[in-house]
């Protein structure tokens, strides 16, 4: 652990750098796509949609161009940023709290629970009158949290939470849910494809409404967690160390786990289970900038956003007009990196 100057200095340099990279990624992403629209038109459309700036502008392009840029590409990119940020942050928190380098946002069964809820909604074609198109995300979110609750209850012995027990409980519950999912898939006939597609995760077919709902949530959570980074540092050192430095271990741990699970639940509910982001982004940041969570958390948020927007851009353009499932891209880029990490592990950086 270095002194406070050191960490704030690092952040002063790297947050702006990553912000610029993110801006560049978004710029490239909005400019390229399956539809042939030249760069100039893309930026005119965006400009015209910015309040004040675009008020005097005249529309010289087709309505369909406007729709493609502003109602398809833009919300998709923003959703990618939010989901990437949420998953990477959740992954960083899990890795710190559970003190396990293999921890990712799905380790405690939140994603399995969400997938089961989503599969049931898809299988029965259930749609609530009140929730409308939000039926599926809300059910997925709810069932994800329910699963977390079950895992937590299983793992709590004598009012104490052992991290190893928690991970084991997560594995067991996931295995059980996986069997139910397989059963649903076996019985689902023609709905199989839809369910499978949901489980693989995707950012396509989104619109502004999802962003409006999850944007404030993700933002507030990120701000909230930045107040807990010092405690996370202590926890990552070990329970004893944390206890002796005055951290209320059980309480902080629970708060962090719940927050990380909420983030995961929100991300999964709107985009399915997109793998690898939550696992490798925190590792990458840790590898590059050291194991101080005051640095890891904010930089993971930016790194996750960059990685997912980039991966989604590849997924939707590389074989255009086809779409590839984004999970292919994240794993294709993520797996070699993970191999590299394993080689690197000699230096024992975790």
């Amino acid at each position: 652990m270095k002194g406070p100057q050191n960490y704030s200095q690092k952040l002063m340099i790297w947050i702006p750098v990553l912000l610029i990279v993110l801006l560049l990624t978004v710029t490239i992403s909005i400019t390229i796509g399956s539809a042939d629209i030249d760069m100039m038109t893309v930026w005119l459309v965006i400009g015209s949609n910015i309040p004040f700036l675009g008020d005097g502008m005249e529309q010289t392009w087709k309505d369909s161009t406007e729709t493609i840029i502003w109602n398809i590409r833009m919300p998709r990119i923003i959703l990618g940023m939010l989901v990437g940020a949420a998953l990477a942050m959740a992954g960083a928190i899990y890795q710190g709290v559970l003190r396990n380098p293999l921890a990712d946002p799905f380790i405690l069964g939140v994603s399995s629970g969400s997938a089961l809820g989503a599969a049931l909604v898809l299988l029965f074609g259930f749609e609530s009158m009140v929730l409308g198109q939000f039926t599926l995300p809300v059910v997925a979110f709810g069932s994800g949290l329910l699963t977390l609750f079950v895992v937590y209850t299983l793992a709590r012995i004598n009012y104490r939470l052992q991290m190893e027990t928690l991970i084991l409980a997560g594995v067991v519950v996931q295995a059980f849910i996986a069997s139910m999912l397989s059963l649903i898939l076996a019985l689902s006939d023609e709905k199989m494809q839809t369910i499978m597609y949901w489980m693989m995760g995707s950012l396509s077919l989104t619109d502004w409404s999802y962003n409006r709902v999850i944007f404030p949530f993700v933002l507030l959570t990120i701000l909230f967690v930045t107040f807990l980074t010092r405690e996370l540092n202590m926890l990552a050192l070990g329970e004893e160390a944390a206890y002796h430095s005055g951290v209320s271990v059980q309480k902080v741990r629970l708060i962090l786990l719940v927050v990380a699970s909420l983030l995961t639940g929100v991300a999964v509910s709107v985009s399915g289970t997109i793998g690898f982001v939550g696992l490798i982004i925190p590792h990458m940041i840790r590898l590059l900038f050291g194991s101080d969570y005051r640095i890891i958390l904010p930089l993971s948020v930016l790194g996750g956003a960059i990685f997912l927007v980039g991966a989604d851009t590849i997924a939707r353009t590389i074989l255009e007009p086809r779409e590839l499932p984004i999970g292919i891209i994240t794993a294709f880029l993520g797996a070699p990196f993970f191999g590299y990490l394993l080689r690197k592990k000699k230096s024992n950086y975790f």
Binding site: T67, F106, I177, Q193, S204, L205, E323
Partner: protein
Amino acid sequence: MRQGLRILGLLFFIVLVSIGLLGCASDDEPNQEENTTEESENNQEAASESAFPVTITDDSGEEVVIEEEPERIISVIPSATEIIFGLDLGDKVVGVTDNDNYPEEVTEIESVGGLELNTEKIISLEPDLVVADVNNGEAISQLREHGVNVLVLGAQSLEETYEDIQTVGKATGAVEKADEVVGSMKEDVESVKSAVQDIPDDERKTVWIEVGEELFSAGSGTFLNELVETAGGKNIISDQEGWPQVNEEEVIQANPDVIFLTYASYVENAVQKVKDRESWKDITAIKDDQVYPLNSDITERAGPRITEGLQMIAENLYPEKFNQE
């Protein structure tokens, strides 16, 4: 669990890829097949009507020898069931699958499984002919090892469907009926073709075929594509093969005149959901209320009713050409 997901995902891909490959493969297969079919057809007509034994090279490339006219037939694929019933041989069918729903009486017949076939059940029914599809894969060779006579079909186009019907006719001693069925199918196709042939190229309607809500579609090499093109429509993604998942931007830019949905039978309010898509509201098909559900039983099953599917598509595309008749 995540590993499980990945495996499921992988399986899903294998299925998609193999569908794609089938689509490609079917381009070169038919020629070779056509020859053999015609040859043996001639041979048989030269001989007498019910000249058993017959030797047939089926779509799996296997030479199937049928010693005498089959009396107990099992169909393990709905399209084959429709062909057999179409040849008036329904009373010989002793087994079908859970997916069969046409004609109505098939629901009374014993089931031998769904997507997974129950080999034990099939053998216990003592069939002298099992009609299967190339997609049944492993199960076919397993049945053959147990001495069951399996005739494998695998039509991917109208032309191949005619051939499959004639193959079944030959295998069951119903050659004449098969010719009759194929003849009337060809008449249906001709009447559709002649109704739309005068439409100039720039007035032909562009079509978006939606096979799954996640914007899966049907490209070249698929039945749906062939039916739409035969009915005088232009599939907006005919440059892709098989069953691609298409980027939403692409559909909006192509601005289709008509949208067909193949999943409306099992997704509630499918048509309304498409019309309600926020970013689709400027598409011509949505503005002109040209979103139609397709009955996938008659547009994807390589059986006698496929031409009904063609007529339905054509009537939805150009109602003015067909209402006059």
